[in-house]
Amino acid sequence: MAEHAHTETFALRVQFDTEAQQKDASTLGMWIFLITEIMFFGGMFAVYTVYRSWYPDVFAIASRSLNEIIGAINTGVLLLSSFTMVMAVRAGQLGQQKMIVIFLILTLLFGGIFLGVKAYEWNEKFVEHHIPGQADFHLDDVLPGDQGHAQLFFSIYFAMTGLHALHMVIGVGLLLTLIVQANKGKFSASYYTPVDVAGLYWHFVDVIWIFLFPLLYLIDRHPVK
């Protein structure tokens, strides 16, 4: 254990004994960060759960005003980006430097499409006067006294999808950095940790959306009796 005479590389810093040990430490550190993110989003999911249990009918009507087909397609785009991300990590494991760059660019592309569609959806809310706090806020089929509860749904909708989109934007920044580094040939089969942990982050953001999609878009879609 005392032989710390090895030359320092990206894959093996002086404080670690083996490359595997360093890799495990990085992975564990990233997961600890993701756990804090789960609790961060968890608070919002708790808010959602409380208000949906209080106003289930208004939430169902508000949910029906979202376009679930666009939502489903966008979910598919995000899942596709997770696939290309894991393929970039796989290219890292195999030390295929060019493939890392190609798959990271594809991930960036799908992530960009997701954000574009999201921007379109948000714009629709402005057109339809479904912005909470707006003086002319109005949701059809909801009693005048319940309009406040409908605003609550859209507040939660914007807060949660907004926070999710913010994470996507950060992910785009990470991808851009990785693409530049990968293009310079920084990563190899023995060192691709940044690609790996950025992948964990990207998949985590994907998982958040996996829950946001049914919770926001798919409350009681069946025809009203």
Binding site: H6, L12, D17, T18, E19, A20, D24, T27, L28, W31, I32, L34, I35, I38, M39, G42, G43, F45, A46, T49, V50, S53, W54, E68, I69, G71, A72, T75, G76, L79, L80, S82, F83, M85, V86, M87, R90, Q93, L94, G199, L200, H203, F204, D206, V207, I210, F211, F213, P214, L215, L218, I219, D220, R221, H222, P223
Partner: protein, 104 residues
């Protein structure tokens, strides 16, 4: 310095393609099943499918399948804390009105 017991597991492209297809199909199913009137059960189905998708992403895309025990423990521990957060919050909000006493 490489340890033969800790070599990286590399999944095949086919595995990842199958997982992607399963995730896309699950997305289609959850969208379609939302149009069926299942009453209160529809939320259970929606969350069940979402949990299934989360498991696929975590186990395969996030490599939990090949992770060491400490990492797995951290992940399960995190979900446990989330469960505590949601459960204890709801024990309050769901039971506030059931006793007709002041100060509820």
């Amino acid at each position: 310095m490489s340890d033969p017991h800790e070599t990286t597991h590399i999944d095949s492209v086919g595995t990842y393609v199958k997982i992607l297809l399963a995730l896309l199909v699950a997305t289609g199913v959850t969208t379609a099943v939302a149009r069926v009137d299942l009453g209160a059960f529809s939320t259970v189905v929606a969350l069940g499918i979402a949990c299934g998708k989360m498991l696929l992403v975590a186990l395969f895309f996030m490599h939990i399948r090949h992770s060491n025990k400490l990492t797995r423990l951290v992940v399960v521990g995190g979900l446990l804390w989330l469960a505590i957060l949601l459960l204890l919050t709801m024990t309050d909000f769901a039971t506030r009105g059931i006793l007709g006493v002041p100060g509820k």
